[in-house]
Amino acid sequence: MKYLGHLELVTLFSRAIRRADIPVAYSAGFHPLPKIWFGQPLAVGIESIAENLDMELTEYGKPEEIKKRLNATLPDGIKVLEAVELPLKLQPISAIITDATYLICLENSRFLLPLRREGLEELLNNFLQRDEVVIFKEREGKKKGINIRPLIKGLSLKGDNTIQLTLNMGTTGSVKPWEVIACLLEMSDSDSRLLPILKIKETHGVAYELFRLEKSI
């Protein structure tokens, strides 16, 4: 499931909602679409237990009931963890996300081998003390340097071999978790993309916790 793209996930949900016969509202116009909105699109390859989905219905439904019905039609690996009722007039979730937290597992990774826990801790601390960390991204054939340090809200070690990373989800620039790890451990992006990453938390500007979707393999 973690290899599904954002649009595929949207389609998957639209179909599950239809199968569950949930009275979802549709947009008007030539090609009506169900009124469902996700938060920040989850990058392909990342698992998550902290996805949010906003859904508008044409008639009232008890959140518990909706959750039960959806879970009955969702495929294995995708589950609604919690459902809550929201006022109709709310900003879209994607606009109020402030930060997101990920766990990156280095266990069994050959990149961890030369590092012991102390070594890793030192690496993290050095990284955090810097004001500027520039990585180079290739866009349309051009290499462009961006400073990712302001995008990193938190970076710490969990246990012996798991890194916890919190990224600011502002309006200015973005960085992918594996890009931070690649820079930190001096590996290539294609290598760091192979590390298991789990999104565990999404924080919003407004108290706004609704569907938490478990996304697992």
């Binding site: 290899y3 793209g5 595929e8 389609t11 998957l12 639209s14 179909r15 599950a16 199968r19 016969d21």
Partner: protein, 491 residues
């Protein structure tokens, strides 16, 4: 359904010829018996499979060849297994249809619910293999279609349904069905698509529905540039009717039309090629008269004679000739500001080889594979030089299969594979084509005695519309079901 399996015969134990729905269960029973150890020998398994109607086991036949390379004889190795009749499911309505199709998570090519509304086509276009090998024409009843759709939509959650047919417009009550469908499902925001549509007289309500569901371009297939050549191929649409249709389509709001033609058809001359330019310009003109410049895509592919069709005796035009004609078309169409789409002539050449090939080609395919050929029909993956080399290495001249006019009594590598359309009928059709004689559609006109129907169990099945279009939204009435049965006229 595989009626030209010879070039790949060496790679397969068994093929199914014809409709698969019933035969697949019979095959499964036999294979289960083999897995359970009730059938011990592999040879016994193949023999058992061969006894199932419609199953072709290539290993139970040998081919002998003449000095000139043509087939001398297809030699059956079992006494009572001399030829294979394609399997026919006489009535689609008696088939259970899977109501819980697999729903993929990632996006796939046909990412919607597909319902076959019609199998077979009896228009009798002489170039068309599908029109010959899928006979007879069997429609699914409108009630059945709605019922299938209803169940499958609920189980899948799809929001789009595609009505499959060789030509959706030839489904006898397409208007009723589509309108009923929209009445029933539009509220649930279900879209419907018709992959192939023939527009003749359009009921305004129907036109409106099509317009709602058809978001992309509109395709018309004149196939040939002149009326004469269209008579040769038995697609006798008159030019004025085509222009009328184009006018209709533009009036309904489309701004682009795709025109589909073939080049290299039997008896084709330069005048026919010019006809493609003229007819396409006239379609463009029809749009301009309504005050806009329509986008006209002119797609011209090379005609490839196919097995089991009236043109199976005909040569294919040479590769160089094809390139020359493409150059001509490109230049002339550009002059008229019409867009031109063509096929890679080398690909058409290879397609021609395998379309009427025999089992000696299995060697060629194997060698090409070993030398790196993969996905050759993806234009950018075509390794034509490798194919040329492999043909040389294996001592097989590909031109033998493409450029040669066959004698009337030549034994074809597929003669033991019976699509149930008589070879004599095909040859008569071939002769009629050269005289530009029409053979009418046996669904609406007299039986053309092609040999497929026994007129008892196997026959055309249609569901005609009760009385034009039902306009009431309220209920879905069962339509008067009439099964058309054209009596045989031996005249």
């Amino acid at each position: 359904m595989h009626l030209i399996p010879e070039p790949i015969a060496e790679f397969f134990d068994a093929f199914v010829l014809g409709d698969g729905e019933e035969v697949i269960l019979e095959i499964a029973d036999i294979v289960i018996g083999w897995k359970d150890g009730k059938i011990r020998e592999r040879e016994e398994l193949l023999k058992r499979l061969a006894r199932v109607e419609g199953v072709y086991v290539p290993a139970l036949f040998n081919a002998a060849y003449n000095a000139d390379g043509t087939v001398k004889e297809i030699i059956p190795l079992l006494k009572d297994y001399t030829g294979i009749n394609k399997r026919i499911v006489p009535d689609l309505n008696k088939l259970p249809l899977p109501s819980r199709p697999v729903v993929p998570f990632p996006q796939i090519v046909h990412d919607h619910l597909s319902v076959e509304i019609n199998r077979g086509c009896t228009r009798g276009c002489r170039f068309c293999q599908a029109g010959m090998i899928y006979r007879p024409n069997r429609e699914r009843s409108p009630e059945n279609i709605i019922r299938i759709v209803e169940g499958a939509l609920k189980n899948t959650g799809y929001d789009e349904v595609s009505f499959l047919s060789l030509s959706a417009g030839d489904y006898s009550c397409i208007q009723d069905t589509l309108i009923n469908f929209m009445d029933r499902f539009a509220g649930e925001k279900i879209a419907v698509s018709l992959p192939s549509m023939r527009v003749g007289t359009l009921n305004p309500r129907f036109a409106e529905e099509i317009k709602r569901v058809r978001k992309t371009g509109f395709t018309m297939a004149p196939e040939a540039g002149s009326e004469r050549l269209r008579q040769v191929i038995n697609k006798g649409i008159e030019e004025e009717a085509l222009i009328d249709t184009a006018r209709n389509v533009f009036e309904m709001g489309w701004r682009s039309i795709k025109l589909y033609y073939m080049m290299g058809l039997p008896t084709e001359t330069h005048a026919d090629m010019e006809g493609i330019i003229r007819l396409s310009s006239r379609v463009q003109e029809a749009g301009k008269r309504q005050g806009f410049r329509p986008k006209i895509n002119v797609s011209v592919s090379q005609f490839i004679p196919k097995a089991h069709t009236p043109f199976q005796w005909e040569p294919q035009i040479r590769l160089e000739e094809c390139l020359e004609r493409q150059t001509f078309l490109r230049r002339e169409l550009k002059r008229k500001k019409l867009d031109f789409k063509w096929h890679d002539a080398r690909m058409s050449f290879l397609e021609g080889v395998f379309s009427r090939g025999d089992r000696r080609l299995s060697r060629v395919i194997m060698a090409a594979f070993e030398q790196g050929c993969r996905f050759d029909s993806w234009g950018d993956q075509l390794r034509f030089e490798t194919w040329e080399k492999v043909f040389r290495d294996e001592g097989i001249a590909p031109e033998f299969y493409t450029y040669r006019k066959r004698n009337k009594d030549e034994v074809f590598p597929w003669d033991h594979l019976n699509a149930r359309v008589d070879k004599k009928f095909l040859h008569d059709e071939y002769e009629r084509s050269l005289k530009a004689e029409e053979t009418p559609d046996c669904k609406t006109d007299k039986c053309s005695i092609c040999g497929v129907c026994d007129h008892k169990v196997i026959k055309n099945i249609s569901f005609f519309e009760e009385s034009g279009v039902r306009s009431q939204k309220s209920e879905v009435k069962p339509s008067a079901i009439s099964i058309s049965h054209q009596p045989v006229k031996y005249d």
